[in-house]
Amino acid sequence: MNDELEERLDEAPESQPESLRLRDIPVREELQPRTVIAPDGQEIHIDPLQDYYCQAGPTVQTPAYTKIIEDLFNWARSESLWILGFGTGCGAIEMRPLMTPRFDAYRYGIQWRPTPRQANLLVISGYLSVKTLKRAIRSYEQMQNPKYVVGLGSCTINGGMYWDSYNTIKCLDQYMPVDLYITGCMPRPEALLQGFDDLKKLIRAGKAEGANRYAENFDWYKANQKRVIKNWNMPDYNW
């Protein structure tokens, strides 16, 4: 990160003005308002940011059941971790052996889903460039509550060997609520299995409420995200 960015990082999130949202970034062409003329001559005004995306922020979803039912649900959630097939860095390579005969994570109820709607665990596998952070945020926001984030490798904790890189983030926790970090560069598949096992314990204990933390501190997370993503040409809410 350059010095200017460091300075801006030091600012308190509250001091970030509303104008951050409307910075002088050209909005992508497909997101610009336009008028379409239908075959029957009717004029249709389209503002994609208004029409195609949700306008409301995330809300805190409280466990609405008695404790014993919530415990059952938490047990089911812990035994059925569906990972979003989203590889960000070199750690994505370490995830592959988990699907194959040698380590076979399926026997622990861990599966991979190709769409964020169905997944409930986002594994940030290694260094996260600013460009990828944008996609990771969009994917994370499209997942349904409750959802969990695991940071894999040193890069997600403190930048790791990319500490002084100009385009990777250092501390994943500032941009999305991380439930668990798995250390190492790279962690072996055994370490991943151990990490998932620890995540299961967290979920069973009802401590993995990252989605609610994200909703509670939504403004803080958004301000942090916008501080590093310079070309924020997407809607604020991505679900």
């Binding site: 979803q61 609405a64 769409t115 709607r117 169905q118 409930n120 509550n145």
Partner: protein
């Protein structure tokens, strides 16, 4: 035909047994597939946990009324197919709501869920869903053709449209099964069966590795749970139709479990051995290999 109210709890009991058997059987088949790939595979009770998990997701979003109705239609197709054909032959309890013309109704129900799914997935507005639906509908349409031809051949052969009467005609020994009295029709139907089980080589529509993951791309939480419920009911319901039409039906639950397992295993066996077809390849395959067999079955009957 008089209606007995006791048929309703009896049908629900059938549904209960089939749902549980389906949950276990589907997991078992996944396990067999995993063992072929030298993996250990999922626990046998994994489907129950996934189902509870998906019903317990706290938030869900909708894209409109058809998005809601898609999974409902799909489940209706599965449950309807199951309830309108006799599950256990000769049993008062498990003949369900079968009636004289149920064979035609069954054919409709086989297609019903797919159409509902197409409408629901289309409303989700996701391009992957649209591509998946167009692929799925073209593949299902061609794979249904040989089944329809085979069913007509069987109906002509036994001169009835009632599944119960067709099963009755096959009683009294293995050699009375349609499998041996009309092998062409059964072959055509079994080829069609491969196409509707969502397993390789015909699973390009739903495969996570292809256009991710096809029609259900946008479906999540309870919607997905409804579809999972249907995913365990529908194959069993479809196999029940096959078992009744071609393999002599089942006179008791153990025979039922065994026959359903073996018929299901046929598609898993083919699926683990052969690689995946593209849609245009599978359409051509059905039209070249399965449809002529079905036509021959009708001509020769």
């Amino acid at each position: 035909m008089s209606f007995e109210w006791i048929m309703i709890p009896y049908s629900l009991l059938t549904l209960f047994i089939v749902v549980n058997y389906g949950l276990l059987l589907t997991a078992l088949m996944q396990k067999i597939g995993a063992r072929v790939g030298r993996r250990y595979g999922i626990p046998i009770w994994q489907n129950y946990i996934d189902l509870i998990k998906n019903y317990s997701i706290r938030s869900s979003i909708t894209h409109g009324p058809m998005f809601y109705l898609g999974p409902v239609f799909r489940l209706t197709g599965g449950v309807g197919l199951l309830l309108f054909v006799p599950t256990i032959y000769g049993s008062e309890m498990f003949s369900n709501l079968s009636f004289a013309g149920d064979l035609i109704l069954a054919l409709y129900f086989v297609f019903f869920g797919t159409l509902g799914m197409a409408l629901g997935a289309a409303e989700s507005g996701h391009p992957h869903a649209a591509i998946g639906v167009s692929r799925g509908l073209s593949q299902v349409t061609t794979s249904e053709l040989p089944l329809a031809l085979a069913v007509f051949a069987v109906a002509l052969q036994y001169e009835t449209l009632s599944v119960t009467e067709i099963v009755a005609a096959q009683q009294g020994g293995v050699m009375n099964w349609t499998l041996f009295t009309n092998p062409l029709a059964v072959t055509a139907a079994m080829l069609s069966f491969l196409g509707s089980m969502m397993r390789p080589p015909f699973d390009v529509v739903l495969a996570p590795q292809e256009i991710p993951i096809g029609p259900p791309t946008e479906y999540h939480s309870s919607y997905l749970a409804l579809m999972q419920t249907n995913r365990v009911i529908f194959p069993i319901a479809k196999i029940v139709v096959y078992m009744n039409l071609f393999f002599g039906g089942a006179a008791s639950w153990p025979v039922f479990f065994l026959k359903v397992f073996l018929i299901y295993l046929f598609s898993v066996f083919v699926g683990t051995v052969f690689p995946r077809f593209r849609v245009e390849q599978s359409v051509r395959w059905f039209l070249i290999w399965a449809v002529p067999l079905g036509i021959a079955a009708i001509v020769l009957v």
